[in-house]
Each structure stands twice: as C-alpha cells, then as structure tokens.
Symmetry: C2
Subunit: 220 residues, 2 copies
DNA sequence: ACCTGAACACCGTTCAAGT
DNA sequence: ACCTGAACACCGTTCAAGT
C-alpha cells in the first residue's frame, strides 16, 4: 500500500486529517447515499475540511476509490474452508469473491479498475489457479481459466447491479419496448418465453453458470 | 424506437436540428475523441446550437446513449451463416455480438444500461436460446444459458476495455504493486506465473472461455 | 508539512421567455 | 413547435499563498 506523501519525522505542521479518516468518511457516504454522492467536495465538507486538503493524502479520486475497495475487501473477505476436489476448490474460491463483491453495490465503478482487487484477494486467485492446475491444466491455461471466471463474475455483478439501479429509479425499461412487438415468426423462442423473461433474468444463477464454466474449463 | 416529441403536421416553427443530426454528430465525437468528451454542451456547440435545443429531441443524455448504441448495432451487426450443430450455433451467435461490441470502446458505459441492446440483437439472442433448446435444455434453462453468456461477454469487454484505457494513459498499474512482493509460501502458483501474468492476461481468450462455458452449459 | 481561498474549466438540467 | 439565455447546483483539479 503506497503512502505517496512519505511520512517524515514530524518536521512541519501537524496533520489535521488522516488518510484513515478520509477512507472512513468516504465509506460512510458510500453506504448511506451511494457512489454517485461521493465527491471530493462532498467528502471534504463532511470531514470539516476543504477539497484541497484531501489531495495531500490521496493522489486523486481514482486512487481513493481503489483504496476504498482495498479496505472493504480486507475487512470483508474471509477465507473459506477448502474442499479436497480441485474443481470444488475453484468454485468455492470464486463464490467467496463473488459474494463480497455482490453485497457491495458501489463496487461496480471500481471493479474494472484492475483485475486484482487487493492483496487480500490474492489468496483466492491462488486457490483458483491451483485448483485448475490440479485438474490437469498447464499453469498458463490455469491463468486463462481464472480470467474466464473473472470476466463472468465481474460481468454478472455489473449487469445485475445496473438492473437493480434501473428497478430502483423505475426508469422506463428499454427492454419492454424491445419486447413489446416480438415477431413470433422471426424469433419464436423469445416470443415463447417473453412473459417469463423478467422472472427468469431476475433469478440468481451465478453458481449454476460458474459450475458450467468450471466444468467446461476443467474438461479440455 | 420512441419519438417522444410526437411529430405533428407542421404547426409551429420549423425545426433547425433533427434527431438524426444529433446522433450523427454524437457518433463523430465518440469516434474522434472518446466517450468522455461527449457531453450535451459539447454536442450542442459542435452542432451549432445550444444545449437546451437537444432536449427537444432526446429526453436526456441516457436516452441519447441508448439511441447511439442502437444505431451502431443496427449498422454493424451482420447475421452470420449458422452451422447445423446447435452448440456451434450458440458460439457463432455469441461471437458475432462480441465482435461488434469489442470493436467499440465507448460501448462500455452503455453496456450495462440494458441486457437487450436493440431490436437488431434479438435475432442473435434467439439463436443462442434456440441452440440451447436444441441441445436438450428446457426453455427456462436456455434463457439462463444466454444470461451466463451475456455476463461472460459483457465482463470480458468491460474488463479488457478498462485494461486498454489503463495502458493508454499509462497510469501506475495497481497490479504491479500487488505483485511486487508475492510470498511464494503463501501463493506459490502466482509466484510461479508472476512474470508471465501480463502476457497471459493480455491474450485474447474470449473464444476459449466461451466454448468452455457453452460445453458446460450444454452438458448438464 | 499541511491547509486554505480563489480560480479554471467544465458538467446535466430547468425555467421563463422569445420567434 | 422549436429554440435561446440565464441560471441552478454542481464537478475534479491546480496554483499561489498562508501557518
């Protein structure tokens, strides 16, 4: 964890605010009002300071967001007991990551910021890669397998978070207008499931898809 | 395609700008300068008008973005020839969608806006769902299969677009600091592949992962 | 070393008025 | 019906100066 303004031996003025206080307050705003409301200015007033004071403790807003994700992951990720079967090990590790990320709606904006969330997440990545190797994959293919899981997991979280957001401010659903006049000649299957579409896509099928993906990756 | 300000029979003042002109100019800005630079104000000056004139032709910026994606998809998506094997049909349809989306970096912001991109995309969704049904899945499971593919595809595009963006403005890579001091006792596999990580994750493995996922989904 | 004030260069959107 | 001007309520970030 880099601390860009290197802490010296108490030469100048004593700090009024700390990086920890910034992160703590930011997390509170995130929790209470959502990611849209977390702005440097808002954070500064909340903390009883000025926007510019923040820039003495974090490089910019992007760094702050990464720091927040890091902090959240470290506090929340708990290492699960691992099963013996390597394939199950992959699934349990992936599900553990998925669980904490899915519980945290503000994550979406930061999620794509990097493929490795934090040091805490490394252990989980290790389990996935190691599980694949134990399934008989080469190390290179095992890394590709991890990536496929990451794409699937990140995609699931982002797509579903967007859907939830849409449901909340009940915007006119684009889907409805697209589904309104389905041509049963052109797209018979979709016409057949049209009225169940909403229910079906609202179901949590993360684990099903994950198992399918891991099975497919392990048997090739 | 809804045209919210219903076109009447030429009562009042003749329009100076049209929705098509707005979309055309927006696409040009998107292409030339990226999605960050597309703002209502910028678009207005580019078009030789005022921000507020735009709001007479599109409800707001979100609607404009959906309109842009729609327009792009309609122009770009070409229906491929479909193989006989249902599993291959699913793969070909998914790859076709992936190809046009991946070629379009500004898509990412809109991608989560809805799971159905546009009417044009419906045919591709139909092929995927139908392919799964022909593999022996129930219609419900076929829709879940489509969703899994969508999560994987959207995730791949968003994660890789973010990586590309990062590489462009060569920001200090968070990953490097995380990888810098890997403990080979704690995470031996990662330590083993650490120096190949960059190369491995840069490789395009979309189709590999897709095939694994489809295999896994079709055999259960 | 740490913080402040003022400023730069922007945003999306609304409202009341003009043609 | 369509467009404009002015305004509201914001952004992230930089720079020069203060303590």
């Amino acid at each position: 964890m880099p601390q860009p303004p290197a802490p010296r031996k108490t030469p100048g003025r004593p700090p009024r605010i700390s990086r920890d206080e910034i992160i703590g307050t930011a997390l509170r705003i995130l929790d209470e009002e959502g990611v849209d409301r977390l702005t440097m200015r808002r954070l500064a007033t909340e903390i009883g300071s000025t926007p510019m004071a923040l820039y003495h403790h974090v490089r910019n807003k992007d760094e702050l967001l990464v720091l927040l994700l890091d902090d959240y992951a470290t506090r929340t990720l708990r290492r699960p007991g691992l099963p013996d079967r390597p394939r199950e090990r992959v699934i349990v590790a992936a599900e553990a990551i998925h669980e904490v990320l899915a519980a945290c709606p503000w994550i979406v904006t930061v999620l794509t910021a990097d493929d490795l969330l934090s040091k805490t997440a490394l252990w989980f990545v290790e389990q996935i890669v190691d599980g694949f190797v134990d399934c008989g994959l080469t190390p290179d293919r095992a890394v590709h397998g991890y990536r496929a899981i990451w794409y699937y997991t990140a995609g699931e979280i982002m797509v579903r978070a967007a859907a939830r957001r849409r449901a909340e401010d009940d915007r006119p659903v684009h889907r409805e207008s697209v589904f309104a006049d389905l041509d049963p000649e052109e797209v018979p299957r979709l016409a057949q499931v049209a009225d169940r579409w909403e229910t079906l896509t609202a179901q949590d099928t993360y684990s099903d898809g994950l198992r399918a993906l891991v099975d497919g990756l392990a048997t090739r």
